[in-house]
Symmetry: C2
Subunit: 333 residues, 2 copies
């Protein structure tokens, strides 16, 4: 039986994940059965939410098992097929295991067209990332033209798309990111009105107030923690906070403390709402259509940080927590 | 010119308000002009939200001024009138000053009918309290029959009504209060399914889990602080938190810290929303109609803690923060 390289979860991270939490091993490639395809991995998405699955605390998706392969969004090519719908040469995207090759059922696979967009886009702007930005902003943020949108993790995969959609919808858009280079990129590449480098800002609440003189109507939050505390002091009456991610606290070993949100929400008749992209499964086709249209009209740009080689997957994942990515972090095989 | 006893804000409370923050003085009763009435105060409502107005921090209503009369919801009788709509003998409710007598314009006054309900009810179940419970639960809590509702400050003016409306709407209702007597009252008088005494409970999160074996779908929060932290561990997917009050932290001098809500909201696609009753001004008549109907059908009960005499107003207010009230705290003159 043929073998393939695999990455398994060696130990559940305590706090910040380390390379030693991952192990490279080999596993057997199963025999191809009817309705299955043999896939060759091309692009692997690494995302902050995977950190949650590495713990065994209950969450919205089951935890990874120890000593079993990890999995994430993957673009793969069909090498051999026992499914007439997915002939050899087809490219697919799906939630697949961290293996160089694998046999998979075709149920959970979607075909992607390399002529319509670069393959990696289907992991980002035309994939979960783009849909997360789109539905988070439109369904939960409920934007009204002329309002002020504040986005954290603004140079990240989701944040950079949120800001651009905000501009398309007529919002004033302010982003928060962690390097001067990212801040510059937000303004020059992605059309943000203002951007703040939180690492060189002493008083975040004041900086936000300066960048958002009319207050914050929509706070699209990818980070949680102290930056979210600072945002609270700037929310407007009837403002909406979109709780998309909390990367700043995902590695905490005990529940982190923040400024108590309740008095702020009461004072401002303000709301906060968390979501995951599967909450909007029914609407995915609508979202995909809109994103594809904007992309083809050059209204949306995207940035990727691409690492090279299967063996780079764990490090690419760790680098997310250091903010070393611009836009979507992807590993190319 | 005639004079009247008045209570003014002597100093802005630092932390917990004290009797010395209030001062009794006398002020002159203005001459009655066209369109005005001379009022004699009958019932004075004291409410936790007044604490906010005693600070000079920006909030949803302007702060009280130092050395000026305090004000709250008051039932008064018209003694003399220069308004044909409000003849002498009429009873009214309005946001009035803490004075035994006062001249007021009739703009902000509503007539109340002492034959339809006891006068004090118009400060509570048929007033701001009842409307707060009604709109908070129906508009923000969005209850669905069979869901579990957890209410804090459950024996308070708002909480006791929220729980009863919850039962009318077919919810399982669990209340949290601060004495065994209140816990007993919630179950025997107000029909709550379960009640928890937070002062004698070591592990709140566990107690909530036991009382709500199917988790919490609606968390109607009047208190904030540690109890709200404990509630977070028990919220269901798509649950709603109604941020109505945060009495446990109103006296804090620096923004209080709580467990960071963001990761919980994300995991559970859960929402939190603050409100004040004026957000629903357009719908007040609808709410009043429903509450009056339920009251006349004996579906709603209410409890009042009535203190006697103008000079008791400050102490009655302070006692709110010690949980010395059952239901609506009112001072009768």
């Amino acid at each position: 039986m043929k073998q393939t390289r695999t990455i398994v979860l060696k130990s559940r991270p305590k706090g910040k994940p380390e390379l030693t939490d991952f192990e490279f091993s080999t596993s057997e490639i199963n025999e191809l059965k009817e309705g299955e395809v043999l896939l060759s991995t091309k692009y692997v998405s690494v995302d902050p939410y995977l950190r949650g699955r590495m713990s065994d605390a209950p969450s919205y998706i089951p935890p990874f098992e120890l000593n079993k392969p990890l999995a994430s969004g993957i673009i793969a090519e069909v090498l051999e097929s026992k499914s007439s719908d997915f002939p050899a040469g087809t490219y697919v995207v799906g939630m697949l295991q961290w293996k160089e090759k694998q046999v998979a059922k075709t149920d959970g696979l979607l075909k992607v067209d390399p002529d319509k967009a670069p393959l990696s886009a289907y992991l980002g702007i035309l994939g979960m990332t783009g849909l997360t930005a789109y539905f988070g902003l439109t369904e939960i943020g409920k934007p009204k033209k002329g309002e002020t949108l504040l986005v954290t993790g603004a140079a990240g995969a989701v944040g950079s798309v949120v800001g651009q959609i905000g501009k398309i919808l007529g919002l004033k858009v302010v982003g928060i990111a962690g390097t001067d280079e990212k801040v510059k990129m937000l303004k020059s590449e992605f059309g943000f009105d203002q951007a703040i480098n939180y690492k060189t800002t002493e008083n975040m609440s004041e900086s936000i107030a300066n960048a958002c003189p009319e207050g914050v109507d929509i706070y699209f939050d990818n980070v949680g923690g102290e930056i979210s505390d600072a945002a609270l002091f700037n929310i407007n009456k009837f403002s909406r906070t979109v709780n998309c991610g909390a990367i700043s606290v995902y590695n905490n070993t005990t529940p982190p403390k923040s400024i108590s949100v309740h008095p702020f929400l009461i004072k401002k008749s303000s709301s906060m709402q968390g979501f995951v992209i599967s909450d909007f499964t029914d609407k995915h086709p609508e979202g995909m259509k809109q994103l594809t249209e904007w992309l083809s009209q050059d209204k949306l740009k995207y940035t990727e940080t691409i690492r090279d080689g299967f063996e780079m997957i764990p490090q690419a994942f760790l680098d997310l927590f250091e903010g070393k990515n611009k836009g979507k972090m992807i590993v190319k095989l």
